[in-house]
């Protein structure tokens, strides 16, 4: 059974189900409950996160398991690492991924490395949920997509869902995974609705999803950009070009096989990634195909990314900053040497 719910509701539901299933699952972060120690405040009036994603959880699970923290990311993310290593299964919310600067050590040097450094004698079943993405007019310190930073670090898993159905199943997998997972939520997807299965289900981390089948070219897109790819694919279909849209869903581990076999079928690859282009998911996936799938290629690999600049505030600049279906069409036109496909 499925019903239509939003990306945000799907994430909320995953946390609720996880907390019901296992009392070791706790949630902590800034205002994840909201209004801690305010006597007159009813739990249903509490914020439930800046974007309301965790709303209602404190009502069901109480303030021992849904913990408001001070603005002290190094403190509570660091504490989550060893809370995880000593028996809990925390979901720590880092409100915006841009705030990782305040707690990178805890993630990069502690969470990621404990198990390896201790010769396999520890595990860190920690999920860090964090908001990313441009298009919200939130300017340079609240709009980045920093998943490549984490993908670079061995010991961390990196998950980026693009639909409500994927978000729920992948978050449940992340929470019950015994390794630290950084779970990225695009803030501009929260209101997006989609069919979502009821009840408990998981989607394996490391398994890409083919969001649209096609035989003429492969578009690998990250997170929200999956929707840019799908829009472009529909526009291309009108011109008789069938694009296959591959959503990796996690960057670490990366489902190399699905990407490579898609390119083997289509002979062409475009990667859409709204993050900055250097040392990015886009370059990583392109390098994978250049390295292991060169013989499949009929054309050079193309990347559509943000430019090498911070995210601008002004709406006119931010709109230019992001990938669009039109940009994809332009690249396809060059790739197949047919300018007519960009003319509507």
């Amino acid at each position: 059974m499925t019903r239509k719910i939003s990306f945000s509701e799907a994430i909320n539901e995953a946390m609720k189900l996880a907390m019901r299933k296992d009392e070791n699952v706790i949630l902590l972060g800034e205002d994840v409950a909201g209004g801690a120690a305010v006597d007159h405040l009813q739990d249903d009036e509490a914020w439930g996160g800046v974007m309301g994603v965790t709303k209602g959880l404190v009502q069901e699970f109480g303030r021992d398991r849904v913990l408001d923290t001070p603005i002290a990311e190094a403190g509570y993310i660091g504490a989550s690492v060893t809370a995880a290593a000593t028996g809990l299964r925390p979901i720590a919310e880092l409100m915006f991924n841009d705030f990782i600067g305040s707690c990178l050590d805890e993630v990069m040097n502690q969470a990621a490395k404990l198990r390896y450094m201790f010769g396999g004698k520890a595990k860190v079943p920690l999920t860090i949920r964090t908001m990313h993405g441009a298009g919200f007019r939130a300017a340079a310190q609240h709009s980045q997509s920093l998943y490549a930073l984490f993908t670079h670090i061995p010991g961390l898993k990196v998950v980026i869902p693009s639909t409500p159905q994927d978000a729920k199943g992948l978050l449940l997998s992340s929470i019950f995974d015994d390794d630290p997972v950084i779970f990225f939520e695009d803030k501009t997807l929260y209101n997006m609705k989609g069919e979502v299965e009821e009840g408990f289900y998981t989607i394996p981390i490391g398994k890409a999803d083919i969001k649209r089948e096609g035989s003429d070219l492969t578009i690998v897109a990250i997170g929200k950009q999956v929707h840019t790819a799908l829009k472009a694919a529909n526009m291309l279909a009108d011109k008789g070009i069938e694009a296959e849209v591959v959503d990796p869903r996690s960057l670490s581990p990366l489902d190399e096989e699905t990407i490579l076999s898609s390119v083997a079928k289509t002979g062409r690859l475009i990667v859409i990634d709204e993050a900055n282009p250097r040392c990015s998911a886009a370059t990583d996936i392109s390098a994978l195909v250049a390295d292991k799938g060169f013989d499949y290629l009929d054309a050079p690999i193309k990347m559509i990314t943000a430019p090498h600049s911070p995210v601008p505030f002004s709406p006119v600049l931010e709109d230019l900053y992001l990938p669009t279906p039109e940009k994809v069409l332009k690249v396809v036109a060059e790739m197949i040497g047919d300018e007519t496909i960009v003319t509507v």
């Binding site: 800034e30 205002d31 909201g34 209004g35 801690a36 120690a37 305010v38 007159h40 405040l41 009036e45 509490a46 914020w47 800046v50 408001d68 923290t69 001070p70 603005i71 002290a72 990311e73 190094a74 403190g75 841009d98 705030f99 600067g101 305040s102 919200f136 007019r137 939130a138 300017a139 340079a140 310190q141 609240h142 430019p307 090498h308 600049s309 911070p310 601008p312 505030f313 002004s314 709406p315 006119v316 600049l317 230019l320 900053y321």
Partner: protein, 331 residues
């Protein structure tokens, strides 16, 4: 050569006039942004400073352009008190090319380095070390300048608070750390999130003076800031001032503020209003006349109205601006 040490001065008529005008400008500016935002015209989100005017104004009354300030996400008041142009600020909030940051920063990043305004900040706790750096420059270059770090009660729990203040203390840097304790960080009360009763209590751990001030009383803020700034300019190091205050609006526009009580809002917003209090004070002290105050109030409405018109009529940035100013040079 005898070096004249700066001394305490009493509040002059001119200063009082400037302070009243700046407080009114901030209030009018924020009320206007509140109004425009509710119409859905403005991009992004804004955090308003209304209610906290006495803090920025009481402190900045002692500063000139060589002095620096660091600010927060709730930065409009600091900008205005530090002399930023209101047209340029409003245009920035609209994302226009004529904005103080050419539309690149928006409300949360308004800056004017020439005026010593080192930026509003999207990162809570970002300002502590940034103020320390400006003070280090002042000390090494012997400019006599000070740096002021405005920060919220929520920021006082961030690790940078400790690192920044300790550094300023051991190097005896001319920094004034000004806590704006408005009782909440988003929806989280100060009393829940901080182990101390007062932020100023933490000063003892750094061996620096810590002072608690009624942040609704601009004269009290002015006097406390003067003591701290004198100390800083005289090479005696940093001070921590905690101003107890209140934000009249929500954390950001759109916050239903259920965590506040009706009584507390009534008290803070109506009874203890800083502008009304200062108005009574300047009249009773015969610093300014009713007519002068009226004139200021009228002028301020005009100034803010003009700022909105300027912003609305200004052009947006051009496509080529997107890649400008990532670096000074890059080949």
């Amino acid at each position: 050569m005898t070096v004249m040490k700066p001394e305490m001065k009493s509040l002059t008529r001119e200063k009082a006039k400037w302070m009243y005008e700046k407080m009114c400008e901030i209030r009018q500016f924020e009320d206007k942004v509140h109004e425009i935002f509710s119409k859905g015209v403005l991009p992004g989100f804004v955090h308003l400073y209304a209610g906290e005017e006495a803090v920025a104004v009481g402190v900045c009354a002692h500063l000139d352009e060589k002095d620096s300030i660091t600010s927060t996400h709730r930065g409009h008041g600091h900008c205005i008190a530090k002399g930023c142009d209101l047209n340029g600020m409003m245009a920035e909030i609209y994302g226009k090319a004529t904005g103080l940051c050419k539309g690149k920063g928006g409300s949360m990043h308004i800056a004017d380095v020439e005026k010593g305004m080192l930026g509003a900040n999207g990162i809570v706790g970002g300002g502590f070390p940034l103020a320390v750096g400006a003070a280090l420059t002042a000390k090494l270059k012997k400019t006599g300048a000070v740096a002021v770090c405005f920060f919220g009660d929520g920021a006082n729990n961030h690790g940078t608070f400790h690192e920044g203040i300790n550094l300023a203390a051991i190097w005896k840097l001319p920094v004034i750390f000004v806590a704006e304790n408005n009782g909440y960080a988003e929806a989280t009360p100060f009393a829940y999130a901080s182990s101390c009763k007062n932020i100023a209590d933490r000063a003892i751990a750094y061996n620096i003076p810590g002072e608690i001030v009624d942040g609704k009383d601009v004269v009290a803020v002015y006097e406390a800031a003067e003591r701290a700034i004198l100390r800083a300019r005289n090479g005696e190091g940093p001070t921590l001032i905690e101003c107890k205050t209140y934000r009249n609006y929500g954390h950001f526009e759109g916050d239903a503020q259920k965590y506040k009580t009706a009584e507390e809002k009534e008290k803070h917003i109506k009874e203890w209003d800083a502008i009304a209090k200062f108005r009574r004070y300047v009249l009773s002290q015969q610093l300014l006349t009713e007519q002068e105050l009226h004139e200021i109030e009228r002028k301020v409405i005009e100034t803010v109205k003009n700022a909105v018109e300027f912003a609305e009529q200004s052009p947006f940035p051009q496509a080529e601006d997107l890649l400008k100013d990532v670096y000074v040079s890059y080949q």
